[in-house]
């Protein structure tokens, strides 16, 4: 199994509190990895460290064998937690802007995804509902030709239809090409079938990880394991 991202004894301090504590993990290449944990478990921090939005207080991180930094970010499409897009853009303008600022942005694909996600390219970003806003951001993120996708809570707090559409788009992407994708979530109902690898994060530490089917054979459904771990 080749590895996309590695954490070696990483700690990250936020003020006085440790968001990550002596955390070591590896994220497999070419697989869909689920990063599961309650709010405040350190999921967002972990993804931010991969994109070098923060620097670890202690320890070492390797992304495709390199230290995180703006250069490696060329290979990463990151969607932050509770992120939105510039509200003064129209959807059309958002795609134009994304094409300009993201290397290897596939405009044609973005346009196909727009149809798939039932978004009107004339609409203003500021007028979109939460779910539509997330759909747009998924399009902007997934239309980038990169080696690693990081999606922080792409399903939380949005409507059912949008959640279904987002999952459909993710499955669509996964069946088109082999991609490494990390999705953090605490809503596992809809994502049960999506993941191949799982990492359970609790209070800044990895408490369980492994291949999903192996975990299922050994311990049952992800929902069940999740309850066991977090209760």
């Amino acid at each position: 199994m080749s590895i996309a991202v590695e954490f070696h004894h990483v700690s990250y301090r936020y003020g006085r509190k440790f968001a990550l504590q002596d955390l070591s993990l590896s994220i497999p290449k070419g697989k869909a990895t689920g990063l599961l944990g309650e709010n405040g478990a350190g999921k967002s921090t972990l993804l931010k460290l991969i994109t070098s939005i923060g620097k670890p207080t202690l320890g070492e991180i390797k992304v495709f064998g390199q230290k995180p930094g703006w250069k490696v970010n060329e290979q990463i499409a990151y969607l932050g937690d509770r992120a939105q897009w510039y509200k003064f853009h129209s959807i059309e303008k958002a795609i134009q802007y994304a094409e300009k600022i993201f290397p290897n942005f596939q405009v044609q694909q973005a346009k196909e995804y727009l149809d798939f996600m039932k978004l009107d390219s004339k609409a203003k970003v500021g007028d979109l509902s939460k779910g539509q806003m997330m759909r747009l951001q998924l399009i902007l993120c997934l239309s980038r030709k990169v080696d690693l996708f990081l999606l922080d809570e792409p399903l939380s707090g949005i409507d059912l239809i949008s959640r279904e559409k987002i999952i459909d788009l993710l499955i669509h992407l996964l069946s088109e090409q082999e991609v490494t994708i990390v999705i953090s979530t605490h809503e596992i109902m809809e994502t049960e079938g999506l993941f191949e690898h799982l990492i359970f994060l609790k209070e800044g530490k990895v408490v369980k990880s492994g291949n999903v089917e192996t975990l299922r054979a050994r311990e049952g459904s992800i929902q069940h394991i999740y309850r066991e771990v977090f209760q």
Partner: protein
């Protein structure tokens, strides 16, 4: 480089969201018309000081600049912005250039507007400006603008730094930064007042070149400090 200018353009639009442009412009025009009417009808003996047309920008600029940094938070686009695959100094430079272009744009609009009105004055009520020819007032304004522009880099980088500090673990450093700003603009205003009123304070004797050099060095300091915050000190 294409990407860089696209970011500058986007930042430029973020300085004033479109919805603020109309109220601001109407306030400017409304205020001026009111002032001009008062002056023409001789309601007031107060002669407006021309330099304030440009000096106020120095006070407002750090606010605007802090604004384009905070805008990334307001728009909830910090994640997109900070994960861009470009060197950190691009992100900083783009915001500085965007702000500089906005400042120049505002100055140009004010310059045209003011000269139009001054021209009217020198024609209708020349005594309001002590019968000074319009051409001379025009030249005087260019001097003022030139001098104010020397301070602009320092003030822009200061605003940017102050904005970024709010995302870092060193938020409290904002207090000395703003105190420094207060001292700096007071100095500029005092220097102007003492020069105009011929008070012969010592500060007038500091040659502009030194002030310019000081301003340039401090803005470099703020610029690199901002980059280092992005690189190492973010806590979001």
């Amino acid at each position: 480089m294409n990407a860089f200018w696209s970011i500058v353009k986007n930042d430029f639009r973020m300085v004033f969201p479109k919805k603020y442009i109309f109220p601001l412009t109407s306030m400017l025009i409304g205020g001026t018309i009111f002032g001009v009417l008062c002056s023409l009808l001789n309601f007031t003996q107060i002669k407006p000081e021309i330099h304030w047309v440009y000096t106020w920008i120095l006070f407002a600029l750090p606010g605007f600049t802090t604004g384009i940094v905070m805008a990334e938070e307001r728009e909830k686009t910090l994640g997109w912005w900070l994960s861009l695959p470009y060197p950190r100094h691009w992100l900083i430079a783009a915001k500085c250039i965007a702000m500089l272009l906005r400042a120049l744009q505002i100055i140009l609009i004010l310059f045209l507007f003011t000269n139009f009105i001054l021209y009217l004055f020198t024609w209708i009520r020349p005594e309001a400006y002590e019968n000074i020819a319009w051409g001379e007032l025009f030249y005087y304004q260019l001097m003022i603008i030139g001098e104010r522009l020397i301070y602009v880099p320092l003030i822009i980088t200061l605003g940017l730094l102050a904005g970024l500090l709010t995302f870092s673990s060193m938020k409290l450093l904002n207090i000395p930064i703003w105190i420094f700003f207060g001292l700096f603009v007071s100095f500029i205003v005092l220097r102007h007042v003492s020069k105009v009123s011929r008070l012969d304070w010592d500060i007038v004797n500091i040659p502009l070149i030194w002030i310019g050099l000081f301003s340039f060095l401090i803005s470099l300091l703020f610029y690199y400090w901002s980059i280092s915050i992005l690189n190492r000190k973010l806590q979001i």
